[in-house]
């Protein structure tokens, strides 16, 4: 998955030392809450789009809420996502692509 973050896959921090397989790829996370967030994000995007895989993901924002752009082939999916303190999704909104 092509991503705009080089640190933790969801928050870009370089603290922590958690490496986990997500979607067949070994990814770095700063903590287990971020890992949960990322897994929930991926599952939700796949469910909303029907895609079998996310090829690229761009994230902007912070713990208050994130705006993301996901891509699979030519298809694009834009959304806003926010999590609770345990890493579960508490808000999700599709945004217009453009």
């Amino acid at each position: 998955m092509k991503r705009n973050y080089s640190g933790c896959a969801i928050c870009d921090s370089t603290w922590g030392n958690l490496w986990e397989d997500v979607e067949g790829e070994r990814m770095f996370f700063c903590c287990d809450v971020c890992l949960t967030q990322f897994r929930r994000l991926v599952d939700r995007v796949k469910r909303e789009t029907g895609w079998s895989a996310i090829e690229a993901l761009e994230i902007e924002g912070d713990r208050r809420g994130r705006r993301c752009l996901a891509a699979s082939g030519e298809a694009r999916f834009r959304f806003r996502i926010a999590f609770n303190s345990l890493g579960e999704i508490r808000a999700f909104e599709r945004l217009a692509v453009g």
Binding site: C11, F29, C31, R63, R64, S85, R90, A91
Partner: protein
């Protein structure tokens, strides 16, 4: 002594190097509360402990102000900064679901509140603190007879005015995120010095302190215009107005007690660390209110 602001581990007084070593050590183990604290308070890029000492000293430094000023400024930057807490944003002009999320989670918060404040009373040797807590607990939970009911009762009435029966509110368990925060507040209340508990709990009443806008808050807890007009139910106005009027006094008075009894240098750092942990828990808890609110969205 100082304490870790993420897990309250006791460390030597003023020993910021030991604290930095501990924080980095726990962060290297990917421990979420420590990583979070570092990310939000010091740096998002991993560095060595020695590079964090200056930053830690700065976090704890009261500068030319008092502990009251320090607590207020930390609280403001966390909840009322340029990017205010999402619950505060939602409460400016609240929807029915936001208010119901507030009702359902907050009844649990208030019940823990009674426990936490009771521990302060049980452990303090200061009559002025006991009197303060008695008054606070009556305002929040006990009430002063039918003409002046408690904040807890006003909360339940707000729920009823929005068609949520109190029996249903009382029968709903807290969300896991709320439960986790309440459990840790309970642990703080039973284990930490009573002055630290006083600071940890009553600083949270700053959330409704309308005077924070005079010292740098970007917004109030809610737009006071909603107390006029017909945007929200009368019972909701009564609930919000009560906090709006009581919590200026509650938070300012408690912080004055913290300043009076908590300035011994060894105790001061304990007060600061316990407060820092408590506002992280409060951040989590306020999000849980929003999480609950989504269940009431059509």
């Amino acid at each position: 002594m100082t304490q870790c602001p993420a897990c309250r581990l006791p460390l030597g007084e003023g020993d910021y190097l030991a604290l930095a070593i501990h924080l980095v050590d726990r962060a290297d183990a990917s421990d979420s509360p420590h990583v979070r604290w570092l990310n939000q308070n010091l740096a998002r890029q991993r560095t060595d402990p020695a590079d964090l000492v200056g930053g830690l000293r700065k976090v704890y430094d009261l500068g030319s102000g008092t502990i009251k000023d320090w607590i207020k400024s930390k609280f403001i930057s966390k909840f009322f900064g340029a990017n205010p807490h999402p619950f505060v944003v939602a409460l400016q002009h609240p929807s029915r679901s936001t208010l119901l999320g507030y009702v359902v989670e907050h009844q649990h918060f208030l019940r823990q509140w009674v426990r936490s404040c009771s521990f302060i009373m049980a452990r303090t040797d200061q009559p002025s603190v006991v009197l303060y807590e008695l008054d606070n607990l009556n305002t929040e939970f006990g009430g002063f007879g039918p003409s002046r009911v408690s904040h807890y009762e006003l909360l339940l009435r707000m729920g009823e005015s929005l068609d949520l029966a109190r029996s249903q509110v009382l029968a709903t368990p807290p969300l896991p995120a709320t439960r986790a925060a309440l459990e840790e507040w309970n642990e703080i209340a039973t284990r930490e010095h009573w002055v630290a508990v006083l600071a940890a709990m009553h600083s949270l009443e700053l959330i409704a302190n309308r005077n924070l806008v005079d010292v740098g808050a970007s917004v109030r807890y809610f737009d006071p215009a909603i107390l006029r007009g017909s945007e929200i139910t009368d019972a909701s106005k009564n609930f919000l107005r009560e906090g709006y009027e009581a919590d200026v006094g509650h938070s300012d008075e408690a912080l004055a007690l913290v300043a009076q009894f908590g300035t011994r240098p060894d105790l001061l750092e304990e007060v600061q660390s316990t407060f820092l942990r408590s506002i992280d828990l409060f951040d989590d808890y306020l999000l849980a209110r929003l999480e609950r609110a989504t269940q009431f969205e059509a």
